[in-house]
Symmetry: C2
Subunit: 500 residues, 2 copies
């Protein structure tokens, strides 16, 4: 078939760039020359009715012929490409919604339509990392008022699939991160589903922490399920614990979270919109939000926590959710493990009522499950905690948890990594402080969450009397390089644990 103008023949190059769309064209390519394309120009590439936007890299070797075009793996996948496909390339029409981003940079208030246009273009993949980072930054630091946060949340809900469970009550919970090891979600889902409530839980992967619930659950079962598969699991077992990304719920959130991760920020407006848009899109009706407060937690003061609680409740109501926000202790990690596999071990110990199960993780899960039972109206006020405890200690929750995992495709026991170093106390005293951020950083440097079995296994709690040479924690990694890298950090920071 003869090539049309602006049409090039696809050649597979095998370049993996995560989610970033890159297009490769030869410097002598007639389209580049006639259209005036330069390296890093963002251009539109179409195959039949499918279209993506990609950044141009120019090839000046024999890797491509002048009439050929290459794509990064992610871009090729989005266009469903096969070798020798003809691709049509064209100028990217101006992205109109960037004028709203500029208005936001200049401190103007945006209305619903503006947020809707921005989020629609982001989901289409039209924004570069530069545009995304500017949008995130312009919305951070209290620059969105409460109405704008509601607009953003609604726009994010509208940007993806919305699930409908045909139930009057669909419960959910969320913890505003920052507390290493705080893996209550699998426990709460198991208790609620065992009690007969519907809890289709979609979780994120880690944003800036060593593990998100989805990362931890992936050790035990499959978390990447299609919306149809999720429906089947929930129909069968009343609950699920899956990654929210592939479910196409609030897809803008997944794009924005990557940028927030690169910046290592998590601003209030984006945080509220991220959490509540996922909940509403997942079809939840009754939601408990846990805000841990502590000097080194994400939320550092009661004042910030109360403000966030109030904003969460206002935006939650604006998007039609019944919300209860609980402020909890965030002064130290919860459970013993920090990192996907290590946290999965803690969860199983609590479910199995083992003697050495972390009591703090158990109590926190019961508190949240109790609040959720009460918010749902299914149990009397003041009885939630006790009912949750009974469901857990009777073994019903464990049974339900294993059933959910199996319905999601497998139930696998966690395995620890052979590369480990034990860190012991250099003096005796009392453990006065645990720096949540630094202990999380240590777990991240050791490879978590990408390396599932990497992380930190804590052996001590705040207020404990410590003997010299007592084991404080064990560092796990999947490679020697990562273990050394974490040790470098540990050796340069003597305030990860403070013993006085």
């Amino acid at each position: 078939m003869e090539q049309q103008p602006n049409t090039l023949k696809y050649k597979h190059l095998g370049i993996y760039t995560q989610n970033e769309n890159v297009v490769y064209m030869h410097e002598d390519c007639h389209v580049c020359i006639s259209e005036g394309f330069e390296a890093l120009t963002r251009i539109r590439i179409s195959k039949a009715s499918q279209t993506i936007v990609a950044s141009l890299n120019i090839i000046n070797s024999d890797m491509l012929l002048p009439n050929e075009i290459g794509l990064s793996d992610a871009a090729a996948q989005k266009l469903n490409i096969t070798e020798n496909d003809n691709l049509y390339v064209s100028h990217l029409e101006p992205i109109e919604s960037l004028s709203h981003v500029r208005a936001k940079i200049y401190n103007q208030k945006l209305d619903y339509n503006a947020y809707h246009e921005i989020i629609t273009d982001i989901v289409q993949g039209d924004y570069s990392n530069i545009h995304l980072s500017a949008f995130i930054t312009a919305c951070a630091g209290d620059r969105m008022d409460i109405n704008e946060i509601s607009f953003l949340t609604k726009a994010m809900i509208a940007s993806g699939e919305q699930l409908n469970w045909d139930k009057n009550i669909v419960v959910d919970k969320h913890c505003i991160g920052g507390l290493p090891g705080n893996r209550t979600t699998p426990l709460v889902v198991a208790i609620m589903a065992a009690y007969g409530l519907t809890m289709p839980k979609t979780s994120s992967r880690a944003i800036t922490s060593p593990a998100g619930t989805a990362d931890t659950m992936e050790v035990l079962t499959n978390v990447t399920l299609s919306p149809e598969e999720i429906k089947a699991v929930v129909k069968k077992e009343g609950g699920c614990i899956v990654w929210g990304g592939t479910a196409q719920l609030s897809p803008a959130d997944d794009v924005l979270i990557k940028i927030e991760k690169a910046l290592d920020i998590d601003s209030e407006g984006q945080l509220i919109a991220s959490v509540l848009s996922k909940k509403a899109a997942a079809g939840s009706t009754h939601v408990v939000i846990d805000i841990p407060v502590g000097e080194t937690a994400k939320i550092r003061s009661m004042e910030m926590a109360r403000k966030l609680k109030s904003h969460m409740e206002t935006v939650g109501n604006a998007v039609g959710l019944n919300i209860k926000v609980v402020i909890t202790d965030g002064t130290q990690p919860v459970g013993r493990g920090i990192g996907p596999a290590l946290e999965a071990i803690d969860v199983l110990k609590v479910l199995k009522n083992e003697a050495d199960a972390p009591i703090d993780l158990k109590e926190r899960a019961l508190l949240l499950a109790g609040e959720l039972l009460e918010l749902s109206g299914k149990v009397e006020s003041g009885t939630g905690d006790q009912i949750a405890k009974q469901v857990l200690e009777s073994g019903q929750a464990l049974e339900k948890f294993i059933a959910i995992c199996k319905a999601q495709g497998r139930f696998t026991l966690p395995v620890l990594s052979p590369f480990k170093i034990e860190i012991k106390a250099q003096k005796s005293g009392t453990l006065k402080r645990i720096n949540n951020r630094k202990i999380a950083k240590l777990a991240k440097l050791s490879g978590a969450p990408q390396s599932k079995s990497a992380g930190v296994l804590l052996n001590v709690h705040l207020g404990e009397a410590i003997e010299e040479n007592q084991l404080l924690y064990t560092l796990y990694a999947e490679s020697k390089g990562e273990l050394n890298y974490a040790m470098d950090y540990k050796n340069n920071h003597n305030d990860i644990l403070t013993i006085i």
Copy 2:
């Protein structure tokens, strides 16, 4: 020679990505696996004592062997690479100055040290586009106070070379952009140098406009000179008109300007720091700043202009410059040409005192040259304008201009492109309004400034009586595609010129 751990053999791939550093490694590469590198991880790459930071792309084809490493052309050039060099790769240590960027995102004031650390890391190339965009955005929209703008300016001066001319008086001028065709700089330099003053002018390329002074001058002479070459030109002729980028003056500015261009913003703080850091680093002592004001100029109101004037003067004094800020008419383009070659033609016509030289461009250049003569103290107050006029009309300025161009390496006459379309009036009336932004956009879509001879040649001025079918302007492009693209825009915007 045996390879050390973390050492890989360089292979040339021929991938051009402008200034972006990309590193390519095979998915089976032992370093990727042992270090836990993933696609888009930012890693450090060293050859002997030279080091850069690059984003990783993972190759899963036979383009590279597992023990080989590829680099984008820009990255290879920065490391001075030859085939088969051994390169050492390592984790990127945490970028400490990003904590200041986060503080700025959260609306905190930064001190000099914070700006200095940020700018140092930016010049080293440690920031990704995401980090750069967040820094730009966090500093935009009045988020820097006047002290912070001074700190940023000083940090930018300190980040690069600083020239010293061994003269008590070194003059300079700058126009706060936004006015298409306003190419007074070459005229002012020619007049000042002809009068015996020292004016070593370094200019930017276009940020968001169809041509910067450096783009226009590049049509007539070389503008990419080393600091040594610049010194030689100025010693010989008293003046130069070169691009500031390669001179390594305020190199952070060149990095930040690319991000501002992608965002299509130009915030007050960055603008002041950009302009004044270049002036101070270039060794200037007396500087005239021109701020054109108009509805569709960069500065839209007298109020904004007066605020900018006051901030410019404060920061200028803080960094040791004698400054005069002049507010001028910005309601329409200056001269006839918009685009590098078209503007170069206007400049030459004025210098040659040709009958059809654009009178508005000439008058504006004389105003600025007059102010600068007076600011320098070399002429009496009130006489600058007349003295400048005499230097220009006597032909001394032309002679000096040609001498400067030749000292910079060549004097080439501009050539126009064969691809052009004449735009005629569809009705008669009076030309009431010229939209500077839209006419600039038209010139950009036609290919300016990358295509030197592309742009718009205006045939009319504000207030002129227009006959039906009279020629309004001519569009020039270097390719048919670009001409069509500009025409599409023209056909969709009927308010580029308003005739009533």
